[in-house]
Symmetry: C2
Subunit: 363 residues, 2 copies
């Protein structure tokens, strides 16, 4: 008899590397930088950065926070890591200790802070606002900078709001803004506008450097056509128990499911504590690979912290010890996200943070 | 000039301890066990277990997985930790190494597995099914156990489906099932039916041991009346930048928000990568404590991985370096969960896993 209790998170580093190389080719000759913020979307920034450094000679990285960047810089040595949230009193010491880190300055206030700090003459990047209305210098703020200020930056970046919608008017609007502001204020400064989604929008968007994140992790950042990326994340979890569900019985918290007739159920050892969205309650899918093919089953009742309950009435021969597949090549996190009413970025970021997973890297 | 970049997660251990003591008093004379699965709902199981061991003499704990229980057992020594997912081939070695761990056996298959293992004579608990239709022996399975099998368990447990709804028919239904099955099959075995919510349902539900989790962490598990627990989790994040949002401009990914007139916005350094639900896009609230009182502001546009954008038009004098409060006594994770369409358990579990937080324990 086989019984297993731990869910398994499988991360295919071959596919991650292959995705990176594909994106790099599309973006050529732009410098391919790797976005490893949020612990590489949960997949482990140390592992991903080491892989890209060794196997793809990546020397430029982006994180959100200095605290995320420091261990990477210490591990790799000769790299440049741009810190998208910039710098503050709570991170200046990390920048001082780690010369590979460069803040992305987003505002006159932050520039003033950096300029008044002991690191004033260290390299920094600047973010300019072109339509997302998030972090970045607005045009009137740029116009008040001195020539010296404008020339101090090693990189000028902006970020697209709708890069995953090919024909969205915002893309041209932001590209025009970026090109105009760059020509006026940063004619000599290397530039970066595109993240993964922008890479697919055409040459003008690629500028000098592209910031490769989501697509490298297998997310379809061009959902207007089939995914050109390889799947990176697979999730499976063991069937802990099977049972007969009598007609009329309820399932799970708040008794949200009631059996209209007798059903067979499997209790599977994974839940929202592991990062499976609770919004998959009564709607999510799991899959069972069997001798007679792949069978789909439905999550019934509420997703709980450690378990889901699946209706396996139509699935032959499911036994304790079998694994239910929650995400894989044939049903990716993009598919799960659609069923859960969110985006795969959010799910990936959650899954990857869970220490309860038996985490397996495929090389 | 002050600038900060890191979000802050504050965990009030005084309140956590006070909640535990309140619950223990209500449940007296039942043994109060602490539920510290999912890394103590994200709040750090090592910290919480150490606190409860030292300050409340807790010696009984519950985790979901053996991998969660082992470090606690090694740290504390003379404790008993029940493992709710039971045991399998992927955890047997942990049970062998750690005699303080006891699997909660959920099925005949798992009992057979345990009985065939080298640990056959070690103590174990049993879960019985009374209406949740999740893990646990069904009645027909109990009826097939030998007297020896029935007597081998040190604890018999079950779990309520609707314990947070005082008058739900399921509560009496499950209590009756539990009492009947216990009387028939486990007349001498110590019993546990109630988690936090069940503690408030009355004496019959409390049995010999109560499993205190959610309410200890400040969650209102009796939402039919005001929370009797103290708030444990506070979340705040710094304003990285303020800006004018021109009339007609869009905000955030996919341009889901458009300014009907000119607005003031604050870009705040926290996002779904930190555990803030993306479902708060265009609906979530943040709060600004100011000299003239507490002001509420709305999240506009999509929640992104590292940032949210807030409409601060009506909030006086917000500057870079100020903190936006996302959760605190006056707007708890229960409130945030209501706005996000989920439960605070899920949000707490996510927040607590994030290493980007500046995590502060208040003693």
């Amino acid at each position: 008899m086989q019984i297993f209790t731990r869910p398994i998170l499988e991360i295919n580093l071959n596919n991650l590397l292959s995705n990176f190389q594909t994106l790099r080719q599309i973006a050529h000759p732009a410098i391919p930088a790797a976005v490893i913020k949020d612990n590489a979307y949960g997949l482990d920034a140390m592992v991903v950065a080491r892989l890209l450094y060794d196997k793809a000679a990546v020397r430029h990285f982006f994180t959100a926070h200095a605290s995320e960047a420091q261990p990477i810089a210490q591990m790799l040595g000769d790299v440049t890591i741009y810190v998208l949230q910039g710098c503050g009193s709570d991170s200046l010491e990390l920048f001082r200790q780690t010369p590979q880190l460069r803040p992305v300055i987003c505002s006159p206030d932050m520039l003033e802070f950096w300029r008044s700090s002991p690191l004033a003459s260290s390299p920094a990047a600047i973010q300019i606002e072109t339509g997302l209305n998030r972090l970045g210098f607005r045009e009137d703020e740029l116009s008040r900078l001195s020539t010296n200020d404008l020339r101090r930056f090693s990189l000028v970046i902006s970020h697209l709001a709708c890069g995953d919608e090919k024909d969205h008017f915002m893309n041209e609007h932001q590209l025009n803004n970026f090109q105009r502001l760059k020509a006026e204020y940063f004619p000599e400064t290397p530039a970066s506008l595109a993240a993964s989604d922008g890479v697919f929008l055409g040459g003008d968007f690629r500028q000098n450097m592209v910031r490769l994140g989501a697509a490298m992790y297998g997310i379809n950042t061009a959902p207007y056509r089939p995914n050109q990326m390889q799947n990176v994340v697979s999730v499976k979890a063991p069937v802990l128990q099977t049972a007969r569900l009598p007609k009329g019985d309820f399932v799970g918290y708040s008794a949200t499911y009631r059996a209209a007739d007798e059903r067979s159920i499997a209790i599977v050892s994974i839940g929202y504590g592991d990062g499976i969205p609770r919004s998959l309650s009564n709607t999510g899918k799991v899959f069972f690979p069997t001798a007679s093919g792949l069978f789909e089953a439905r999550i019934i009742g509420r997703v709980s912290m450690d378990n889901i309950i699946c209706d396996i009435t139509a699935v032959p021969d499911i036994k304790v010890g079998n694994y239910a597949v929650l995400a894989d090549d044939f049903y990716t996190l993009d598919d799960m996200a659609r069923d859960a009413g969110t985006i795969s970025y959010e799910i990936m970021s959650r899954l990857g943070k869970n220490p309860r997973f038996d985490r397996r890297y495929k090389y």
